[in-house]
């Protein structure tokens, strides 16, 4: 129940709710205004995500943002993608922390610190990816690069799953 939320939980829920909306609106300064209905949809889904952090509704909200970024930009990555990534990561981590227990569970400071460090480290991939994409922006598309990347990703997933299953059997 919302009444049971501690101050820490309120902070987590607000962060979880604002993250996807801010990530969506980040396309505006980049020159692409998101549709009104999309903003409303993402806002509603984000509120539901904040209320029910363990439900898949958060994935839908953030997935809509990701798809919108894919649809909105066709001329290379924009620097506003980096703060958008930060907002999404913050929303994800806030929901993750809120999902450690029931609504009235207080936020453990040590756990919060650990996840802030982790989120910060994981977020560094976003500017890294942006720099790589920016570096290759003007070089033209290498034929078959997307197919090769996808195949490599699939191979990595299969190999990782195999390794994990072997570890579990032991």
């Amino acid at each position: 129940m919302i009444r049971e939320w501690t101050r820490g939980q309120w902070g987590l829920r607000v962060t979880a709710a604002l993250g996807p909306v801010l990530a969506l609106l980040a396309t505006t300064p980049a020159g692409v205004q998101p549709r009104g209905w999309l903003v409303v949809l993402v806002a509603v889904l984000s509120l539901a995500h904040a209320r029910l952090p363990e439900s898949p509704v958060g994935t839908v909200a953030m997935g809509a943002v990701v798809v919108w970024w894919g649809v909105a930009f066709r001329e290379g990555p924009d620097a506003w993608a980096i703060p958008a990534a930060a907002a999404l990561v913050a929303s994800h981590v806030a929901a993750l922390l809120a999902g450690y227990g029931p609504d009235a569970l207080g936020v453990d400071p040590a756990t919060l610190r650990r996840w802030l460090v982790r989120a910060g480290a994981a977020f560094l991939l976003a500017p890294g990816a942006w720099l790589v994409a920016a570096a290759f922006r003007d070089r033209g598309e290498v034929p078959g690069v997307w197919v090769t990347g996808l195949v490599l990703a699939l191979v990595a997933v299969v190999a990782g799953s195999y390794a994990l299953n072997r570890g579990a059997e032991r």
Binding site: P56, T59, V67, G76, P77, G99, L125
Partner: protein, 431 residues
């Protein structure tokens, strides 16, 4: 038992990572990978830290027997904590049980210097207190997998009544035992001066009082009174609980006053070397036979903690078997709102036993009424009940049974002295 399952966080990172790759491929837009690259990393790390352990958890408390207001710790014993980064414990709240952290919810990191989180438990009222069921969940590093929430059974605490402050210097009215601390009416080898009398054969020479002997030209000795123990029967009225209990720190119900006063009286008399017995008049009919010593006191306190409140079938005050022998001091702890208790007390008084009633009805008590009852009718009924009670107490007093309200130290001194004086007078007893 529970097993490790993927968390919503891992599902989210995997779904967003896959969606990012798919969107980037479909639209040929690498900006999407900027958004989802952190999720791919977190998802991968969550998968890599998949636990292989099979934890078995149980909850234990450090102490199962406590006094009201004392505290203990509820520990979570886990067979295998490998692969566990975070532990969440959520204990159900129960009446008269204070938990810390508040509401019994705690969660923290484990591993390294960090231990499994503890729950501090403090029962606030005597009786049997069941810790509610507890839900426990373990989360793996990077929140990829979760074990639980698993439901664990709560422990049961036996909460002894806190011993109310009590002390008495009065002696037992009719000590009738072997060796004790009470001045006997019979002469004996004690220390209490009785008289100076003429020497009889068998008297000890060290008892000769030389000053009187020289003055009277006849040997005189100092005689003393014997010292004996006494038997004390504590009768507890557990037919009903009047008033609302706020626990050890709050308002006291009639049964709270009764249990705490009984505990205090039992401790006082056991420490003085008396033989103490307990009889609970209630649906459980708990009884403790006469005995002395610290272990016996623990038995009495334990029986008080487990007494069952209610009216037994076929309760008749004149037929209650209390096992009272001559010389036994009977202390009845009761709010005297039951006819059976009044009859029982009057019967004991008429047998010539030293009986005293400790009134345990709190001053500001209000009746518990069924929901929907007109408060004016309930108030009127309660006032009528109190009028009847006053009449009962007056009749008991007229029979020679003192009635005192419980007020801690000194509650019984005056009435016990009066009973002792009265015991020296000739009496007519009925059987």
């Amino acid at each position: 038992m529970s097993s490790w399952r993927t968390t919503a966080a891992l599902s989210r990172t995997a779904a967003l990572g896959a969606l990012g790759v798919a969107t980037a491929v479909l639209f040929g837009e690498p900006a999407v990978m900027v958004l989802t690259a952190p999720f791919l990393l977190m998802g991968a790390l969550g998968l890599l830290h998949r636990p292989t352990s099979t934890p078995v958890a149980r909850s234990v408390v450090d102490h199962v027997v406590l006094h009201e207001g004392q505290g203990t710790r509820s520990r979570l014993v886990v067979s295998d904590l490998s692969g566990v980064e975070h532990v969440t414990r959520v204990a159900a709240t129960a009446p008269y049980l204070a938990l810390h952290p508040a509401a019994g919810r705690t969660g923290r990191l484990v591993g390294g210097d960090e231990d499994v989180p503890l729950l501090e438990v403090s029962p606030r009222r005597w009786g049997r207190r069941d810790l509610g069921e507890e839900n426990v969940a373990f989360t793996s590093p990077w929140a990829g997998y979760r074990w639980g929430p698993a439901r664990l059974d709560g422990s049961r605490l036996q909460v002894l009544p806190v011993r109310a402050a009590f002390d008495s210097r009065a002696e037992a009215p009719q000590p009738l035992g072997l060796v004790g601390a009470h001045r006997s009416r019979r002469p004996g080898d004690g220390t209490e001066f009785a008289a100076i009398r003429r020497f009889h054969t068998g008297d000890r020479l060290r008892r000769i009082h030389w000053r009187v002997s020289l003055r009277t030209d006849a040997l005189h000795v100092v005689s003393t009174l014997g010292e004996e123990d006494t038997a004390v029967l504590v009768v507890v009225d557990a037919l009903a609980d009047h008033g609302r209990s706020g626990g050890v720190d709050g308002a006291a119900s009639s049964l709270d006053v009764t249990a705490r006063a009984a505990a205090a009286l039992a401790e006082h008399h056991v420490r003085r070397g008396d033989r103490v017995s307990l009889r609970v008049v209630g649906s459980g009919g708990e009884t403790v036979r006469y005995g002395a010593g610290a272990r016996h006191l623990q038995v009495i306190l334990g029986r008080l903690a487990t007494m069952q409140v209610g009216t037994p079938r076929d309760l008749r005050g004149d037929q209650l078997q209390l096992g009272v022998t001559a010389g036994t001091v009977v202390i009845v702890l009761s709010p005297m709102l039951s006819e059976a208790m009044a009859t029982m007390t009057a019967t004991l008084v008429q047998r010539g036993l030293p009986v005293l009633v400790v009134d345990t009805l709190p001053a500001e008590v209000t009746p518990a009424v069924v929901e929907g009852t007109d408060p004016r009718v309930a108030g009127l009924a309660w006032r009528m009940r109190l009028v009847e009670r006053r009449e009962v107490l007056a009749r008991l007093a007229a029979l020679g049974c003192p009635v005192v309200a419980w007020r801690g130290p000194g509650t019984l001194d005056d009435v016990l002295r009066r009973l002792a004086r009265r015991a020296q007078l000739p009496q007519v007893r009925t059987r």
